[in-house]
C-alpha cells in the first residue's frame, strides 16, 4: 500500500467510524463476559476502546509515516498493517483501564473485540474498499480529490464518531 500521511489519517478515521463502529455494535452483546458484568458494560468497553483506537491511531500514523520514509518504495506492505496491531493494542489497553471502564475478567472480551475489528479493517483495506471508492488506492489512501468528495468523508467519519460518543454517553 502506498499511503500518504493524509491518506493514513483519513482511512483510519473513516473505516473505524463506519465499518469498525458497525462491527463493534454488532458483536458487543455476544462477546464472552463474566456473568456478573451487564451488557451495557460490555458496550462501554468496546466503544471506549474503539474511540481510543481512533484517537491514539492519529499519533501512530505519524510514527508509521516517519518510518515509511526509511523505505525506498515509500510504501507500507500489507503485512505491516496487520502486525502493527501488536504495538497498538498495549496503549489502548492501558487507556481503557485508566478510564475505569474495564471490570475484572473482561480481558478476553477486550482482546476479541480489538483483534476482530483490526483484522476486519485490515481486510477491507486490502481490496474491498476499492469497490466503493475506486480512487482510494490511487490517491495514497485519501478519499477526497475534490472538495465535494471530502464532504462525504467528513460526514461519514463524523457521523460515526458522534454515534459512538452518544452511545457511550448513554450507557454511562
Amino acid at each position: 500500500m502506498t499511503m500518504t500521511l493524509g491518506g493514513r489519517l483519513q482511512t483510519r478515521l473513516v473505516l473505524l467510524s463506519s465499518i469498525g463502529l458497525l462491527w463493534t455494535i454488532a458483536i458487543s452483546a455476544v462477546l464472552p463476559r463474566p456473568w456478573d458484568v451487564p451488557v451495557h458494560a460490555a458496550f462501554r468497553i468496546t466503544l471506549a476502546s474503539s474511540v481510543v483506537m481512533t484517537i491514539l491511531g492519529f499519533f501512530w500514523e505519524l510514527v508509521y509515516h516517519a518510518l515509511q520514509q526509511l523505505r525506498w518504495d515509500k510504501d507500507w506492505p500489507p503485512l505491516f498493517g496487520l502486525l502493527t496491531a501488536i504495538v497498538e493494542v498495549v496503549p489502548v489497553w492501558w487507556s481503557v483501564r485508566a478510564l475505569n471502564v474495564l471490570p475484572n475478567g473482561c480481558a478476553l472480551l477486550f482482546a476479541i473485540h480489538f483483534t476482530t475489528t483490526w483484522i476486519l479493517i485490515w481486510l477491507i483495506t486490502l481490496g474491498p474498499i476499492s469497490i466503493v471508492q475506486p480512487r482510494w488506492r490511487f490517491e495514497g489512501g485519501e478519499f477526497s480529490r475534490r472538495p465535494g468528495d471530502a464532504l462525504v468523508t467528513f460526514v461519514v467519519s463524523n457521523t460515526g464518531m458522534v454515534i459512538a460518543l452518544v452511545l457511550l454517553w448513554a450507557i454511562w
Binding site: T2, M3, T4, L5, G7, Q68, Q69, L70, W72, D73, K74, D75, L126, G127, P128, S130, I131, V132, Q133, P134, R135, R137, F138, E139, G140, R145
Partner: protein
C-alpha cells in the same frame, strides 16, 4: 485544423464516433474498459489498431525478452489491468473458481498467462471486438467546429478513411527496439547480421546455436531484461549442456546501495535493485504527490533518481550469478564496446574500453543488446505530426500531459485529446508505462471526460453495481 469539406473533397469517407482510442494496446484497453464501466456505450467508442488483441504487442515483446509465460511480472497483485477495482486479485479469483484455498499461497502462478486470459475475458465482456477497427492511424487533426478528425489507412488495401470524433486518446507504445549506433551500422553493412541481437526482437537462434556449440556472448544492459537474458543463458548451461561464456558490459556499474538513509536504493554487483520500474509510491503515494507539485524539469530530475535502469532483486538470479562468477564463465566489466565489426570467419570483434585500463581487443560469437526500447517517441509519425501541430514536449522530450493526461495545447472546442503510456513519461505519474500507470491514467481520463458530460465517473453505487457485473462476467 481540418474541416469535413476538405476530406470530402479528397474523396475520403468519414465515419463518426464519440470517443476514439488509437493504438489498441494495453493503454487503449485500460481507457476503453474504464469508459465502458463509466457508462459509455460500445457503439460510441472506436479503437483504431493494428492488433487483434490488446495484449499482442506486450506478449510478443515479453516472449522475445525471455519472459516465459510462467514468469512473475514486475507489478503487484492489485495491478490487474482487467479489473479496475484491483480486487479480487488473480489468486483470490482462482481460489474461488477452484473452491480451494491453495491458490492463495501457491507461489508459482502463471502471471503472463493469467494477465492475458484476464484481458481476454474483460475484452470480450466490454465488446472490444465490436469497437475495433483494424487499421493504421496516420494523423489526428483538430476539426473546425470542435472535436478531431483521425485519418487512417486500412490494413488490407491501405485505402484511407477518416473518423470524426469528439474526444481522442493516443497510446502507441514504443516505436520499436532501441538499436545502438554500432549495431545499426553493422546491420546496415552486413544485412540481417544474426551475430547481433536485440533483446526485444526474436533471437532464439542465438540460444540454439550456443547450445549446439560452445560460444562467447556479450550482453549489454543492466535492467530487468538483461537479468532475464542472463537467466536464460545460465538455464541453457545448466540444463541443456551449453558451454556459454558471458561477458557482461555495464555502462554504469552500481557497486552497492546508493543514496542517503531516507532515500537509499538497493544495489550491488553492477545492478540497481527495485521491485518495479519506480518506487511504489510514485504510482499513488507520497512520491506522486510530490511530483504533482513539480515543474517538468524537477520531475525529469526526480525520475532520473527513482527510475532509470533497474532490475528486481530475486534470490534465484543472485545465486545463479554468484555461481557463474565463481566458476568464471561470467565476467562483468564496466565500460563500452567500440569498433564493433565482423572478422573474416564471421565472428564479432570489438575493442573493450574499460574505464582507465588500456583498450583491449576482444572477440565473441554473439552480442545481445538489452538496452531497452526506442524512446524517441517522435519516431511514431502520428506523434511527430501532433508535435508539429502544437503538442508540447516535456523536459524528457515526451508529450507534455496534464495530470488528467490531456494534451492541453491540442484542445479543440469541447473536444479533448489524451495520451498515456511510454509517450508521456515525464508527467506527474512516473510509472505511466506500466499496468498500474495505464489504469491510473484511464481513471483520470474517465474522470476528466465525466466533467465534460461524456460519462458518469463511478461513485459508490455505480462502482458497486459495475463491480458486481464484472464479478458475474456480465456486460457493463
Amino acid at each position: 485544423m481540418w474541416d469535413d469539406a476538405l476530406l470530402a473533397a479528397a474523396g475520403i469517407p468519414i465515419t463518426d464516433a464519440h470517443v476514439i482510442s488509437i493504438g489498441g494496446g494495453l493503454g487503449s484497453f485500460a481507457v476503453v474498459d474504464f469508459l465502458r464501466i463509466a457508462g459509455v456505450e460500445a457503439s460510441q467508442i472506436r479503437v483504431l489498431s493494428r492488433l487483434a488483441a490488446p495484449y499482442d504487442t506486450f506478449a510478443a515483446l515479453a516472449r522475445a525478452s525471455q519472459l516465459r509465460p510462467e514468469d512473475r511480472l514486475r507489478s503487484d497483485s492489485s495491478s490487474t489491468i482487467d479489473n479496475v477495482w484491483g480486487w479480487p486479485g488473480y489468486a483470490l479469483c482462482e481460489a474461488w473458481t477452484e473452491r480451494s484455498l491453495s491458490p492463495l499461497w501457491r507461489v508459482v502462478t502463471e502471471p503472463i498467462l493469467t494477465v492475458v486470459a484476464g484481458v481476454q475475458r474483460e475484452a470480450t465482456r466490454i465488446g472490444w471486438g465490436d469497437m475495433l477497427v483494424g487499421c493504421r492511424a496516420e494523423v489526428v487533426r483538430r476539426r473546425a467546429g470542435g472535436g478531431y478528425l483521425v485519418l487512417a489507412s486500412r490494413l488490407d488495401d491501405t485505402a484511407l478513411f477518416a473518423v470524426r470524433c469528439q474526444h481522442a486518446y493516443v497510446a502507441l507504445g514504443y516505436p520499436g527496439p532501441r538499436l545502438l549506433p554500432d549495431t545499426a551500422a553493422l546491420r546496415e553493412q552486413y544485412g540481417a547480421c544474426p551475430q547481433v541481437a536485440n533483446a526485444f526482437e526474436p533471437h532464439e537462434h542465438v540460444y540454439r546455436q550456443l547450445v549446439r556449440s560452445p560460444g562467447r556472448v556479450v550482453v549489454r544492459g543492466a535492467g530487468i531484461t538483461a537479468s532475464r537474458i542472463l537467466e536464460r543463458l545460465i538455464h541453457d548451461r545448466d540444463t541443456l549442456g551449453a558451454r556459454t561464456e558471458v561477458l557482461h558490459v555495464f555502462r554504469h556499474y552500481v557497486p552497492g546501495p546508493v543514496g542517503p538513509p531516507w532515500f537509499r536504493r538497493a544495489g550491488g554487483d553492477g545492478f540497481a535493485y527495485q521491485p518495479f520500474n519506480f518506487p511504489r509510491a510514485a504510482g499513488g503515494g507520497q512520491l506522486r504527490r510530490r511530483m504533482l507539485a513539480m515543474t517538468s524539469e524537477e520531475r525529469a530530475l526526480l525520475i532520473a533518481t527513482i527510475g532509470g535502469t533497474t532490475t528486481a532483486r530475486r534470490r534465484r538470479w543472485q545465486r545463479q550469478l554468484s555461481r557463474a562468477r565463481r566458476e568464471q564463465w561470467y565476467r562483468a566489466v564496466v565500460g563500452r564496446v567500440g569498433e564493433l565489426d565482423l572478422d573474416g570467419s564471421g565472428r564479432l570483434r570489438f575493442v573493450l574500453f574499460n574505464g582507465g585500463a588500456a583498450p583491449r581487443p576482444e572477440a565473441a560469437d554473439f552480442l545481445i543488446d538489452a538496452t531497452g526500447l526506442d524512446d524517441t517517441i517522435t519516431r511514431h509519425p502520428l506523434i511527430a505530426d501532433l508535435v508539429d501541430c502544437g503538442a508540447g514536449l516535456n523536459a524528457l522530450g515526451r508529450l507534455d500531459v496534464e495530470p488528467s493526461f490531456e494534451l492541453r495545447t491540442m484542445r479543440s472546442g469541447a473536444g479533448r485529446l489524451y495520451a498515456s503510456g511510454a509517450a508521456t513519461l515525464g508527467g506527474a505519474l512516473a510509472p505511466v508505462d506500466s499496468f498500474w500507470g495505464l489504469m491510473h491514467a484511464a481513471m483520470e481520463i474517465t474522470d476528466d471526460l465525466a466533467d465534460q458530460g461524456t460519462c458518469e465517473f463511478p461513485g459508490v453505487m455505480r462502482s458497486l453495481t459495475q463491480w458486481w457485473r464484472w464479478m458475474r462476467n456480465r456486460p457493463p
